[in-house]
């Protein structure tokens, strides 16, 4: 009796879950498919029939050309793309390649006074919300003369205390130390040991972190919104683009082309590295 009751409730649970994710998936696929299809439409053709497929006679790549050459409130598409890439470059280097692995390695592999204190500080920093200090950080950045400059992002990313550092630390703790000792016996310097021996061993995880950092920064909204108001990235510029092309001329297809480009870049990246992401990250990060 209990068994059948359990089986029925499991069936219900699974059924409800299935229905929910089916609806979600349909909504995702539909809305993305819709903007993909309509991005090849003409503005007029779209406004006439926003929900039907594009007439083959209306099919055009105009909206893509328009999107790539548009000027949204004095900022061109190429400028936004460049801003996105600079921001991504800073974050990938600072957030995934330089300080977190190096400091994680030092914390994992060396004993020194103050180590435990530092680790607990890092964990506290990562958990307690400090959004309230935003105005102070903002005015500090302004006082340093860095507002609206990429240097602001760089300077703030020097503070690498957070979960990324904890993950790297745990990863280096899990590696075997023989190679490191052998390198030290060979007379390799400390930095050499790290760069030649330890850094390559973490290649898999580091690669995944680079990809995830790329996606995260490409999509980031809040930091450019606060600190780079006149250097809009593609994510931040979406509202500008909407305001320019839609409110001025009902030119939705150009907005769609812009969005397809934005979404397409990270989707392609994810498809290429899908396997590495799922095997590498989730086996090493979840300690």
């Amino acid at each position: 009796m209990r068994k059948t009751k359990n089986a029925i409730s499991m069936f219900l649970l699974k059924g409800v879950t299935f229905l929910m994710i089916l609806l979600l998936s349909i909504s995702f696929v539909y809305i993305l498919g819709w903007i993909l299809v309509q991005s090849f439409n003409t503005p007029l053709g779209f406004m006439k029939k926003p929900f039907s497929f594009v007439n083959l006679s209306d099919l055009s790549f105009d909206s893509y050309i328009k999107a790539f050459t548009l000027n949204a409130q004095r900022t061109s598409f190429l400028e936004m793309l460049l801003n996105s890439l600079i921001l991504v470059g800073i974050d990938v280097f600072m957030g995934a390649l330089f300080l977190p692995p190096l400091c994680g390695y030092i914390l994992a592999r060396y004993e020194f006074p103050g180590k435990n204190l530092m680790i607990s500080i890092i964990i506290i920093t990562a958990t307690i919300p400090t959004i309230g200090a935003t105005p102070i950080t903002y005015s500090l950045i302004t006082k340093m003369g860095l507002l609206d400059s990429f240097l602001a992002i760089f300077v703030m990313s020097l503070n690498c205390f957070g979960f990324g550092l904890v993950i790297m630390m745990n990863y280096f703790k899990g590696l075997h130390g023989e190679l490191m000792e052998a390198a030290a016996l060979d007379g390799a310097g400390r930095m050499q040991t790290y760069i030649r021996v330890m850094f390559p061993q973490a290649k898999g995880l580091l690669g995944v972190n680079v990809i995830l950092q790329f996606i995260g920064t490409w999509n980031d909204y809040m930091r450019p919104y606060l600190y780079l108001p006149s250097h809009p990235t593609l994510a931040l510029g979406m509202d500008l683009v909407r305001a320019t092309v839609v409110q001025q001329g009902q030119d939705y297809p150009t907005l769609f082309a812009y969005m397809i480009f934005m979404v397409g870049v990270v989707t392609i990246l994810y498809i290429i590295f899908n396997k590495q992401i799922s095997t590498n990250l989730y086996t090493s990060a979840l300690k």
Binding site: F51, P129, F161, Y282, T283
Partner: protein
């Protein structure tokens, strides 16, 4: 976990207990290497974490005028915030009880999303119907920018070209559509933001973390449970939930901060409007920072968040980690 301890015992890097001058020199060099590199994040942390937070607490006792002159006012800011956050008028901009109530709904929402994500992860883990397709499609929330999702959401709810209104009308539910549009009605603006959070909150990296945690559970546990005739529901309750509980604790503890930090979603979907009906505490701080209003008041709010958030996280973490022992044994 285990290799972590072995690694520690086997090698302690270049530093070892030694006495000869040569070895002492080596330790000194070790220390230069260690502290030299760690100094970079420590200095940045002292500036962008310690300094800004201490300054925030100090400034919470001050008021500033438009010339940026600060005047000590004691607990005045705290009283003001208490007064604002208990009144439902909009005389003080978005500083009202609605903002606090909105923020308080964030945590139940996040808990609910974690629950859904565990269910979805288990569904895919059990290789139920369509799991491969779902796994790929449902990763999209983490892949696509929140600003793009918000744009898509607003397009779907658009009165002219939105599919939602068309669907509702064809289902005979046209009366549900608010006459002022989904984003123009103060009474439902926050619900619209919540709907957006749910739409983009199922799947993504949260689901991926849970499903990978499930894949790391030893196969034998399920095999022996199945031999004992345990149903899938019992496996979920007695094997999966206890074993992914630590992950659940960590992830929900960090999302507890969301009560105070959730700002991007309302900013992108409704801009906090209309008339501040869908503002959160986080968005209030961001907008006040941009507008450069009364810094003292915002700092006071930040101090309250720091203290309340710290206590809340501590209490919550103790509560949920206690719960795990009861489940496991």
């Amino acid at each position: 976990m285990s290799n972590l301890k072995i690694g520690k015992k086997k090698d302690v890097g270049h530093a070892k207990r030694v006495s000869s001058p040569e070895k002492r020199k080596r330790i000194l060099r070790d220390r230069i290497f260690i502290y030299g590199w760690l100094a970079i994040p420590i200095i940045a942390w002292l500036i962008f974490y310690v300094y800004v937070n201490v300054d925030m607490v100090v400034k919470s006792f001050y008021n500033n005028n438009i010339y940026n002159e600060y005047k000590y006012v004691g607990l005045e800011n705290y009283k003001t915030i208490f007064r604002y956050f208990t009144s439902d008028t909009t005389t003080a901009g978005y500083w009202n009880v609605k903002t606090v109530l909105n923020s308080l709904t964030v945590f139940p929402l996040l808990l609910f999303l974690h629950f859904l994500n565990i269910l979805v992860a288990y569904y895919n883990f059990k290789k139920s119907f369509g799991h491969k397709a779902f796994q790929i499609i449902l990763f999209m929330p983490s892949l696509i920018a929140l600003s793009a999702w918000a744009q898509l959401f607003r397009l779907a709810l658009d009165p002219q070209i939105g599919i939602v209104n068309v669907l509702l009308k064809s289902l005979g539910l046209g009366s549900m559509i608010p006459p002022n549009g989904w984003f123009g009605t103060p009474e439902i603006a926050w619900q619209v933001v919540l709907a957006f959070c749910i739409w983009t909150g199922v799947g993504g990296s949260t689901m991926a973390y849970y499903s990978s945690a499930m894949h790391r559970i030893p196969r034998e546990l399920f095999e022996s449970a199945m031999l004992d005739g345990a149903t899938e529901l019992e496996q979920l309750r007695h094997i999966v939930v206890p074993l992914i509980w630590p992950l659940f604790c960590t992830m929900t503890t960090t999302s507890l901060g969301g009560i105070f930090t959730l700002a991007t979603q309302p900013l992108l979907v409704t801009g906090g409007g209309p008339a501040g009906a869908s503002t959160t505490i986080g968005l209030l701080i961001v907008e006040q920072t941009k507008a450069g209003g009364n810094t003292g008041l915002v700092c006071c709010l930040g101090t309250i968040i720091l203290v309340a958030g710290g206590i809340l996280i501590k209490v919550y973490h103790r509560f949920v980690s206690k719960f795990v022992e009861e489940v496991e044994y």
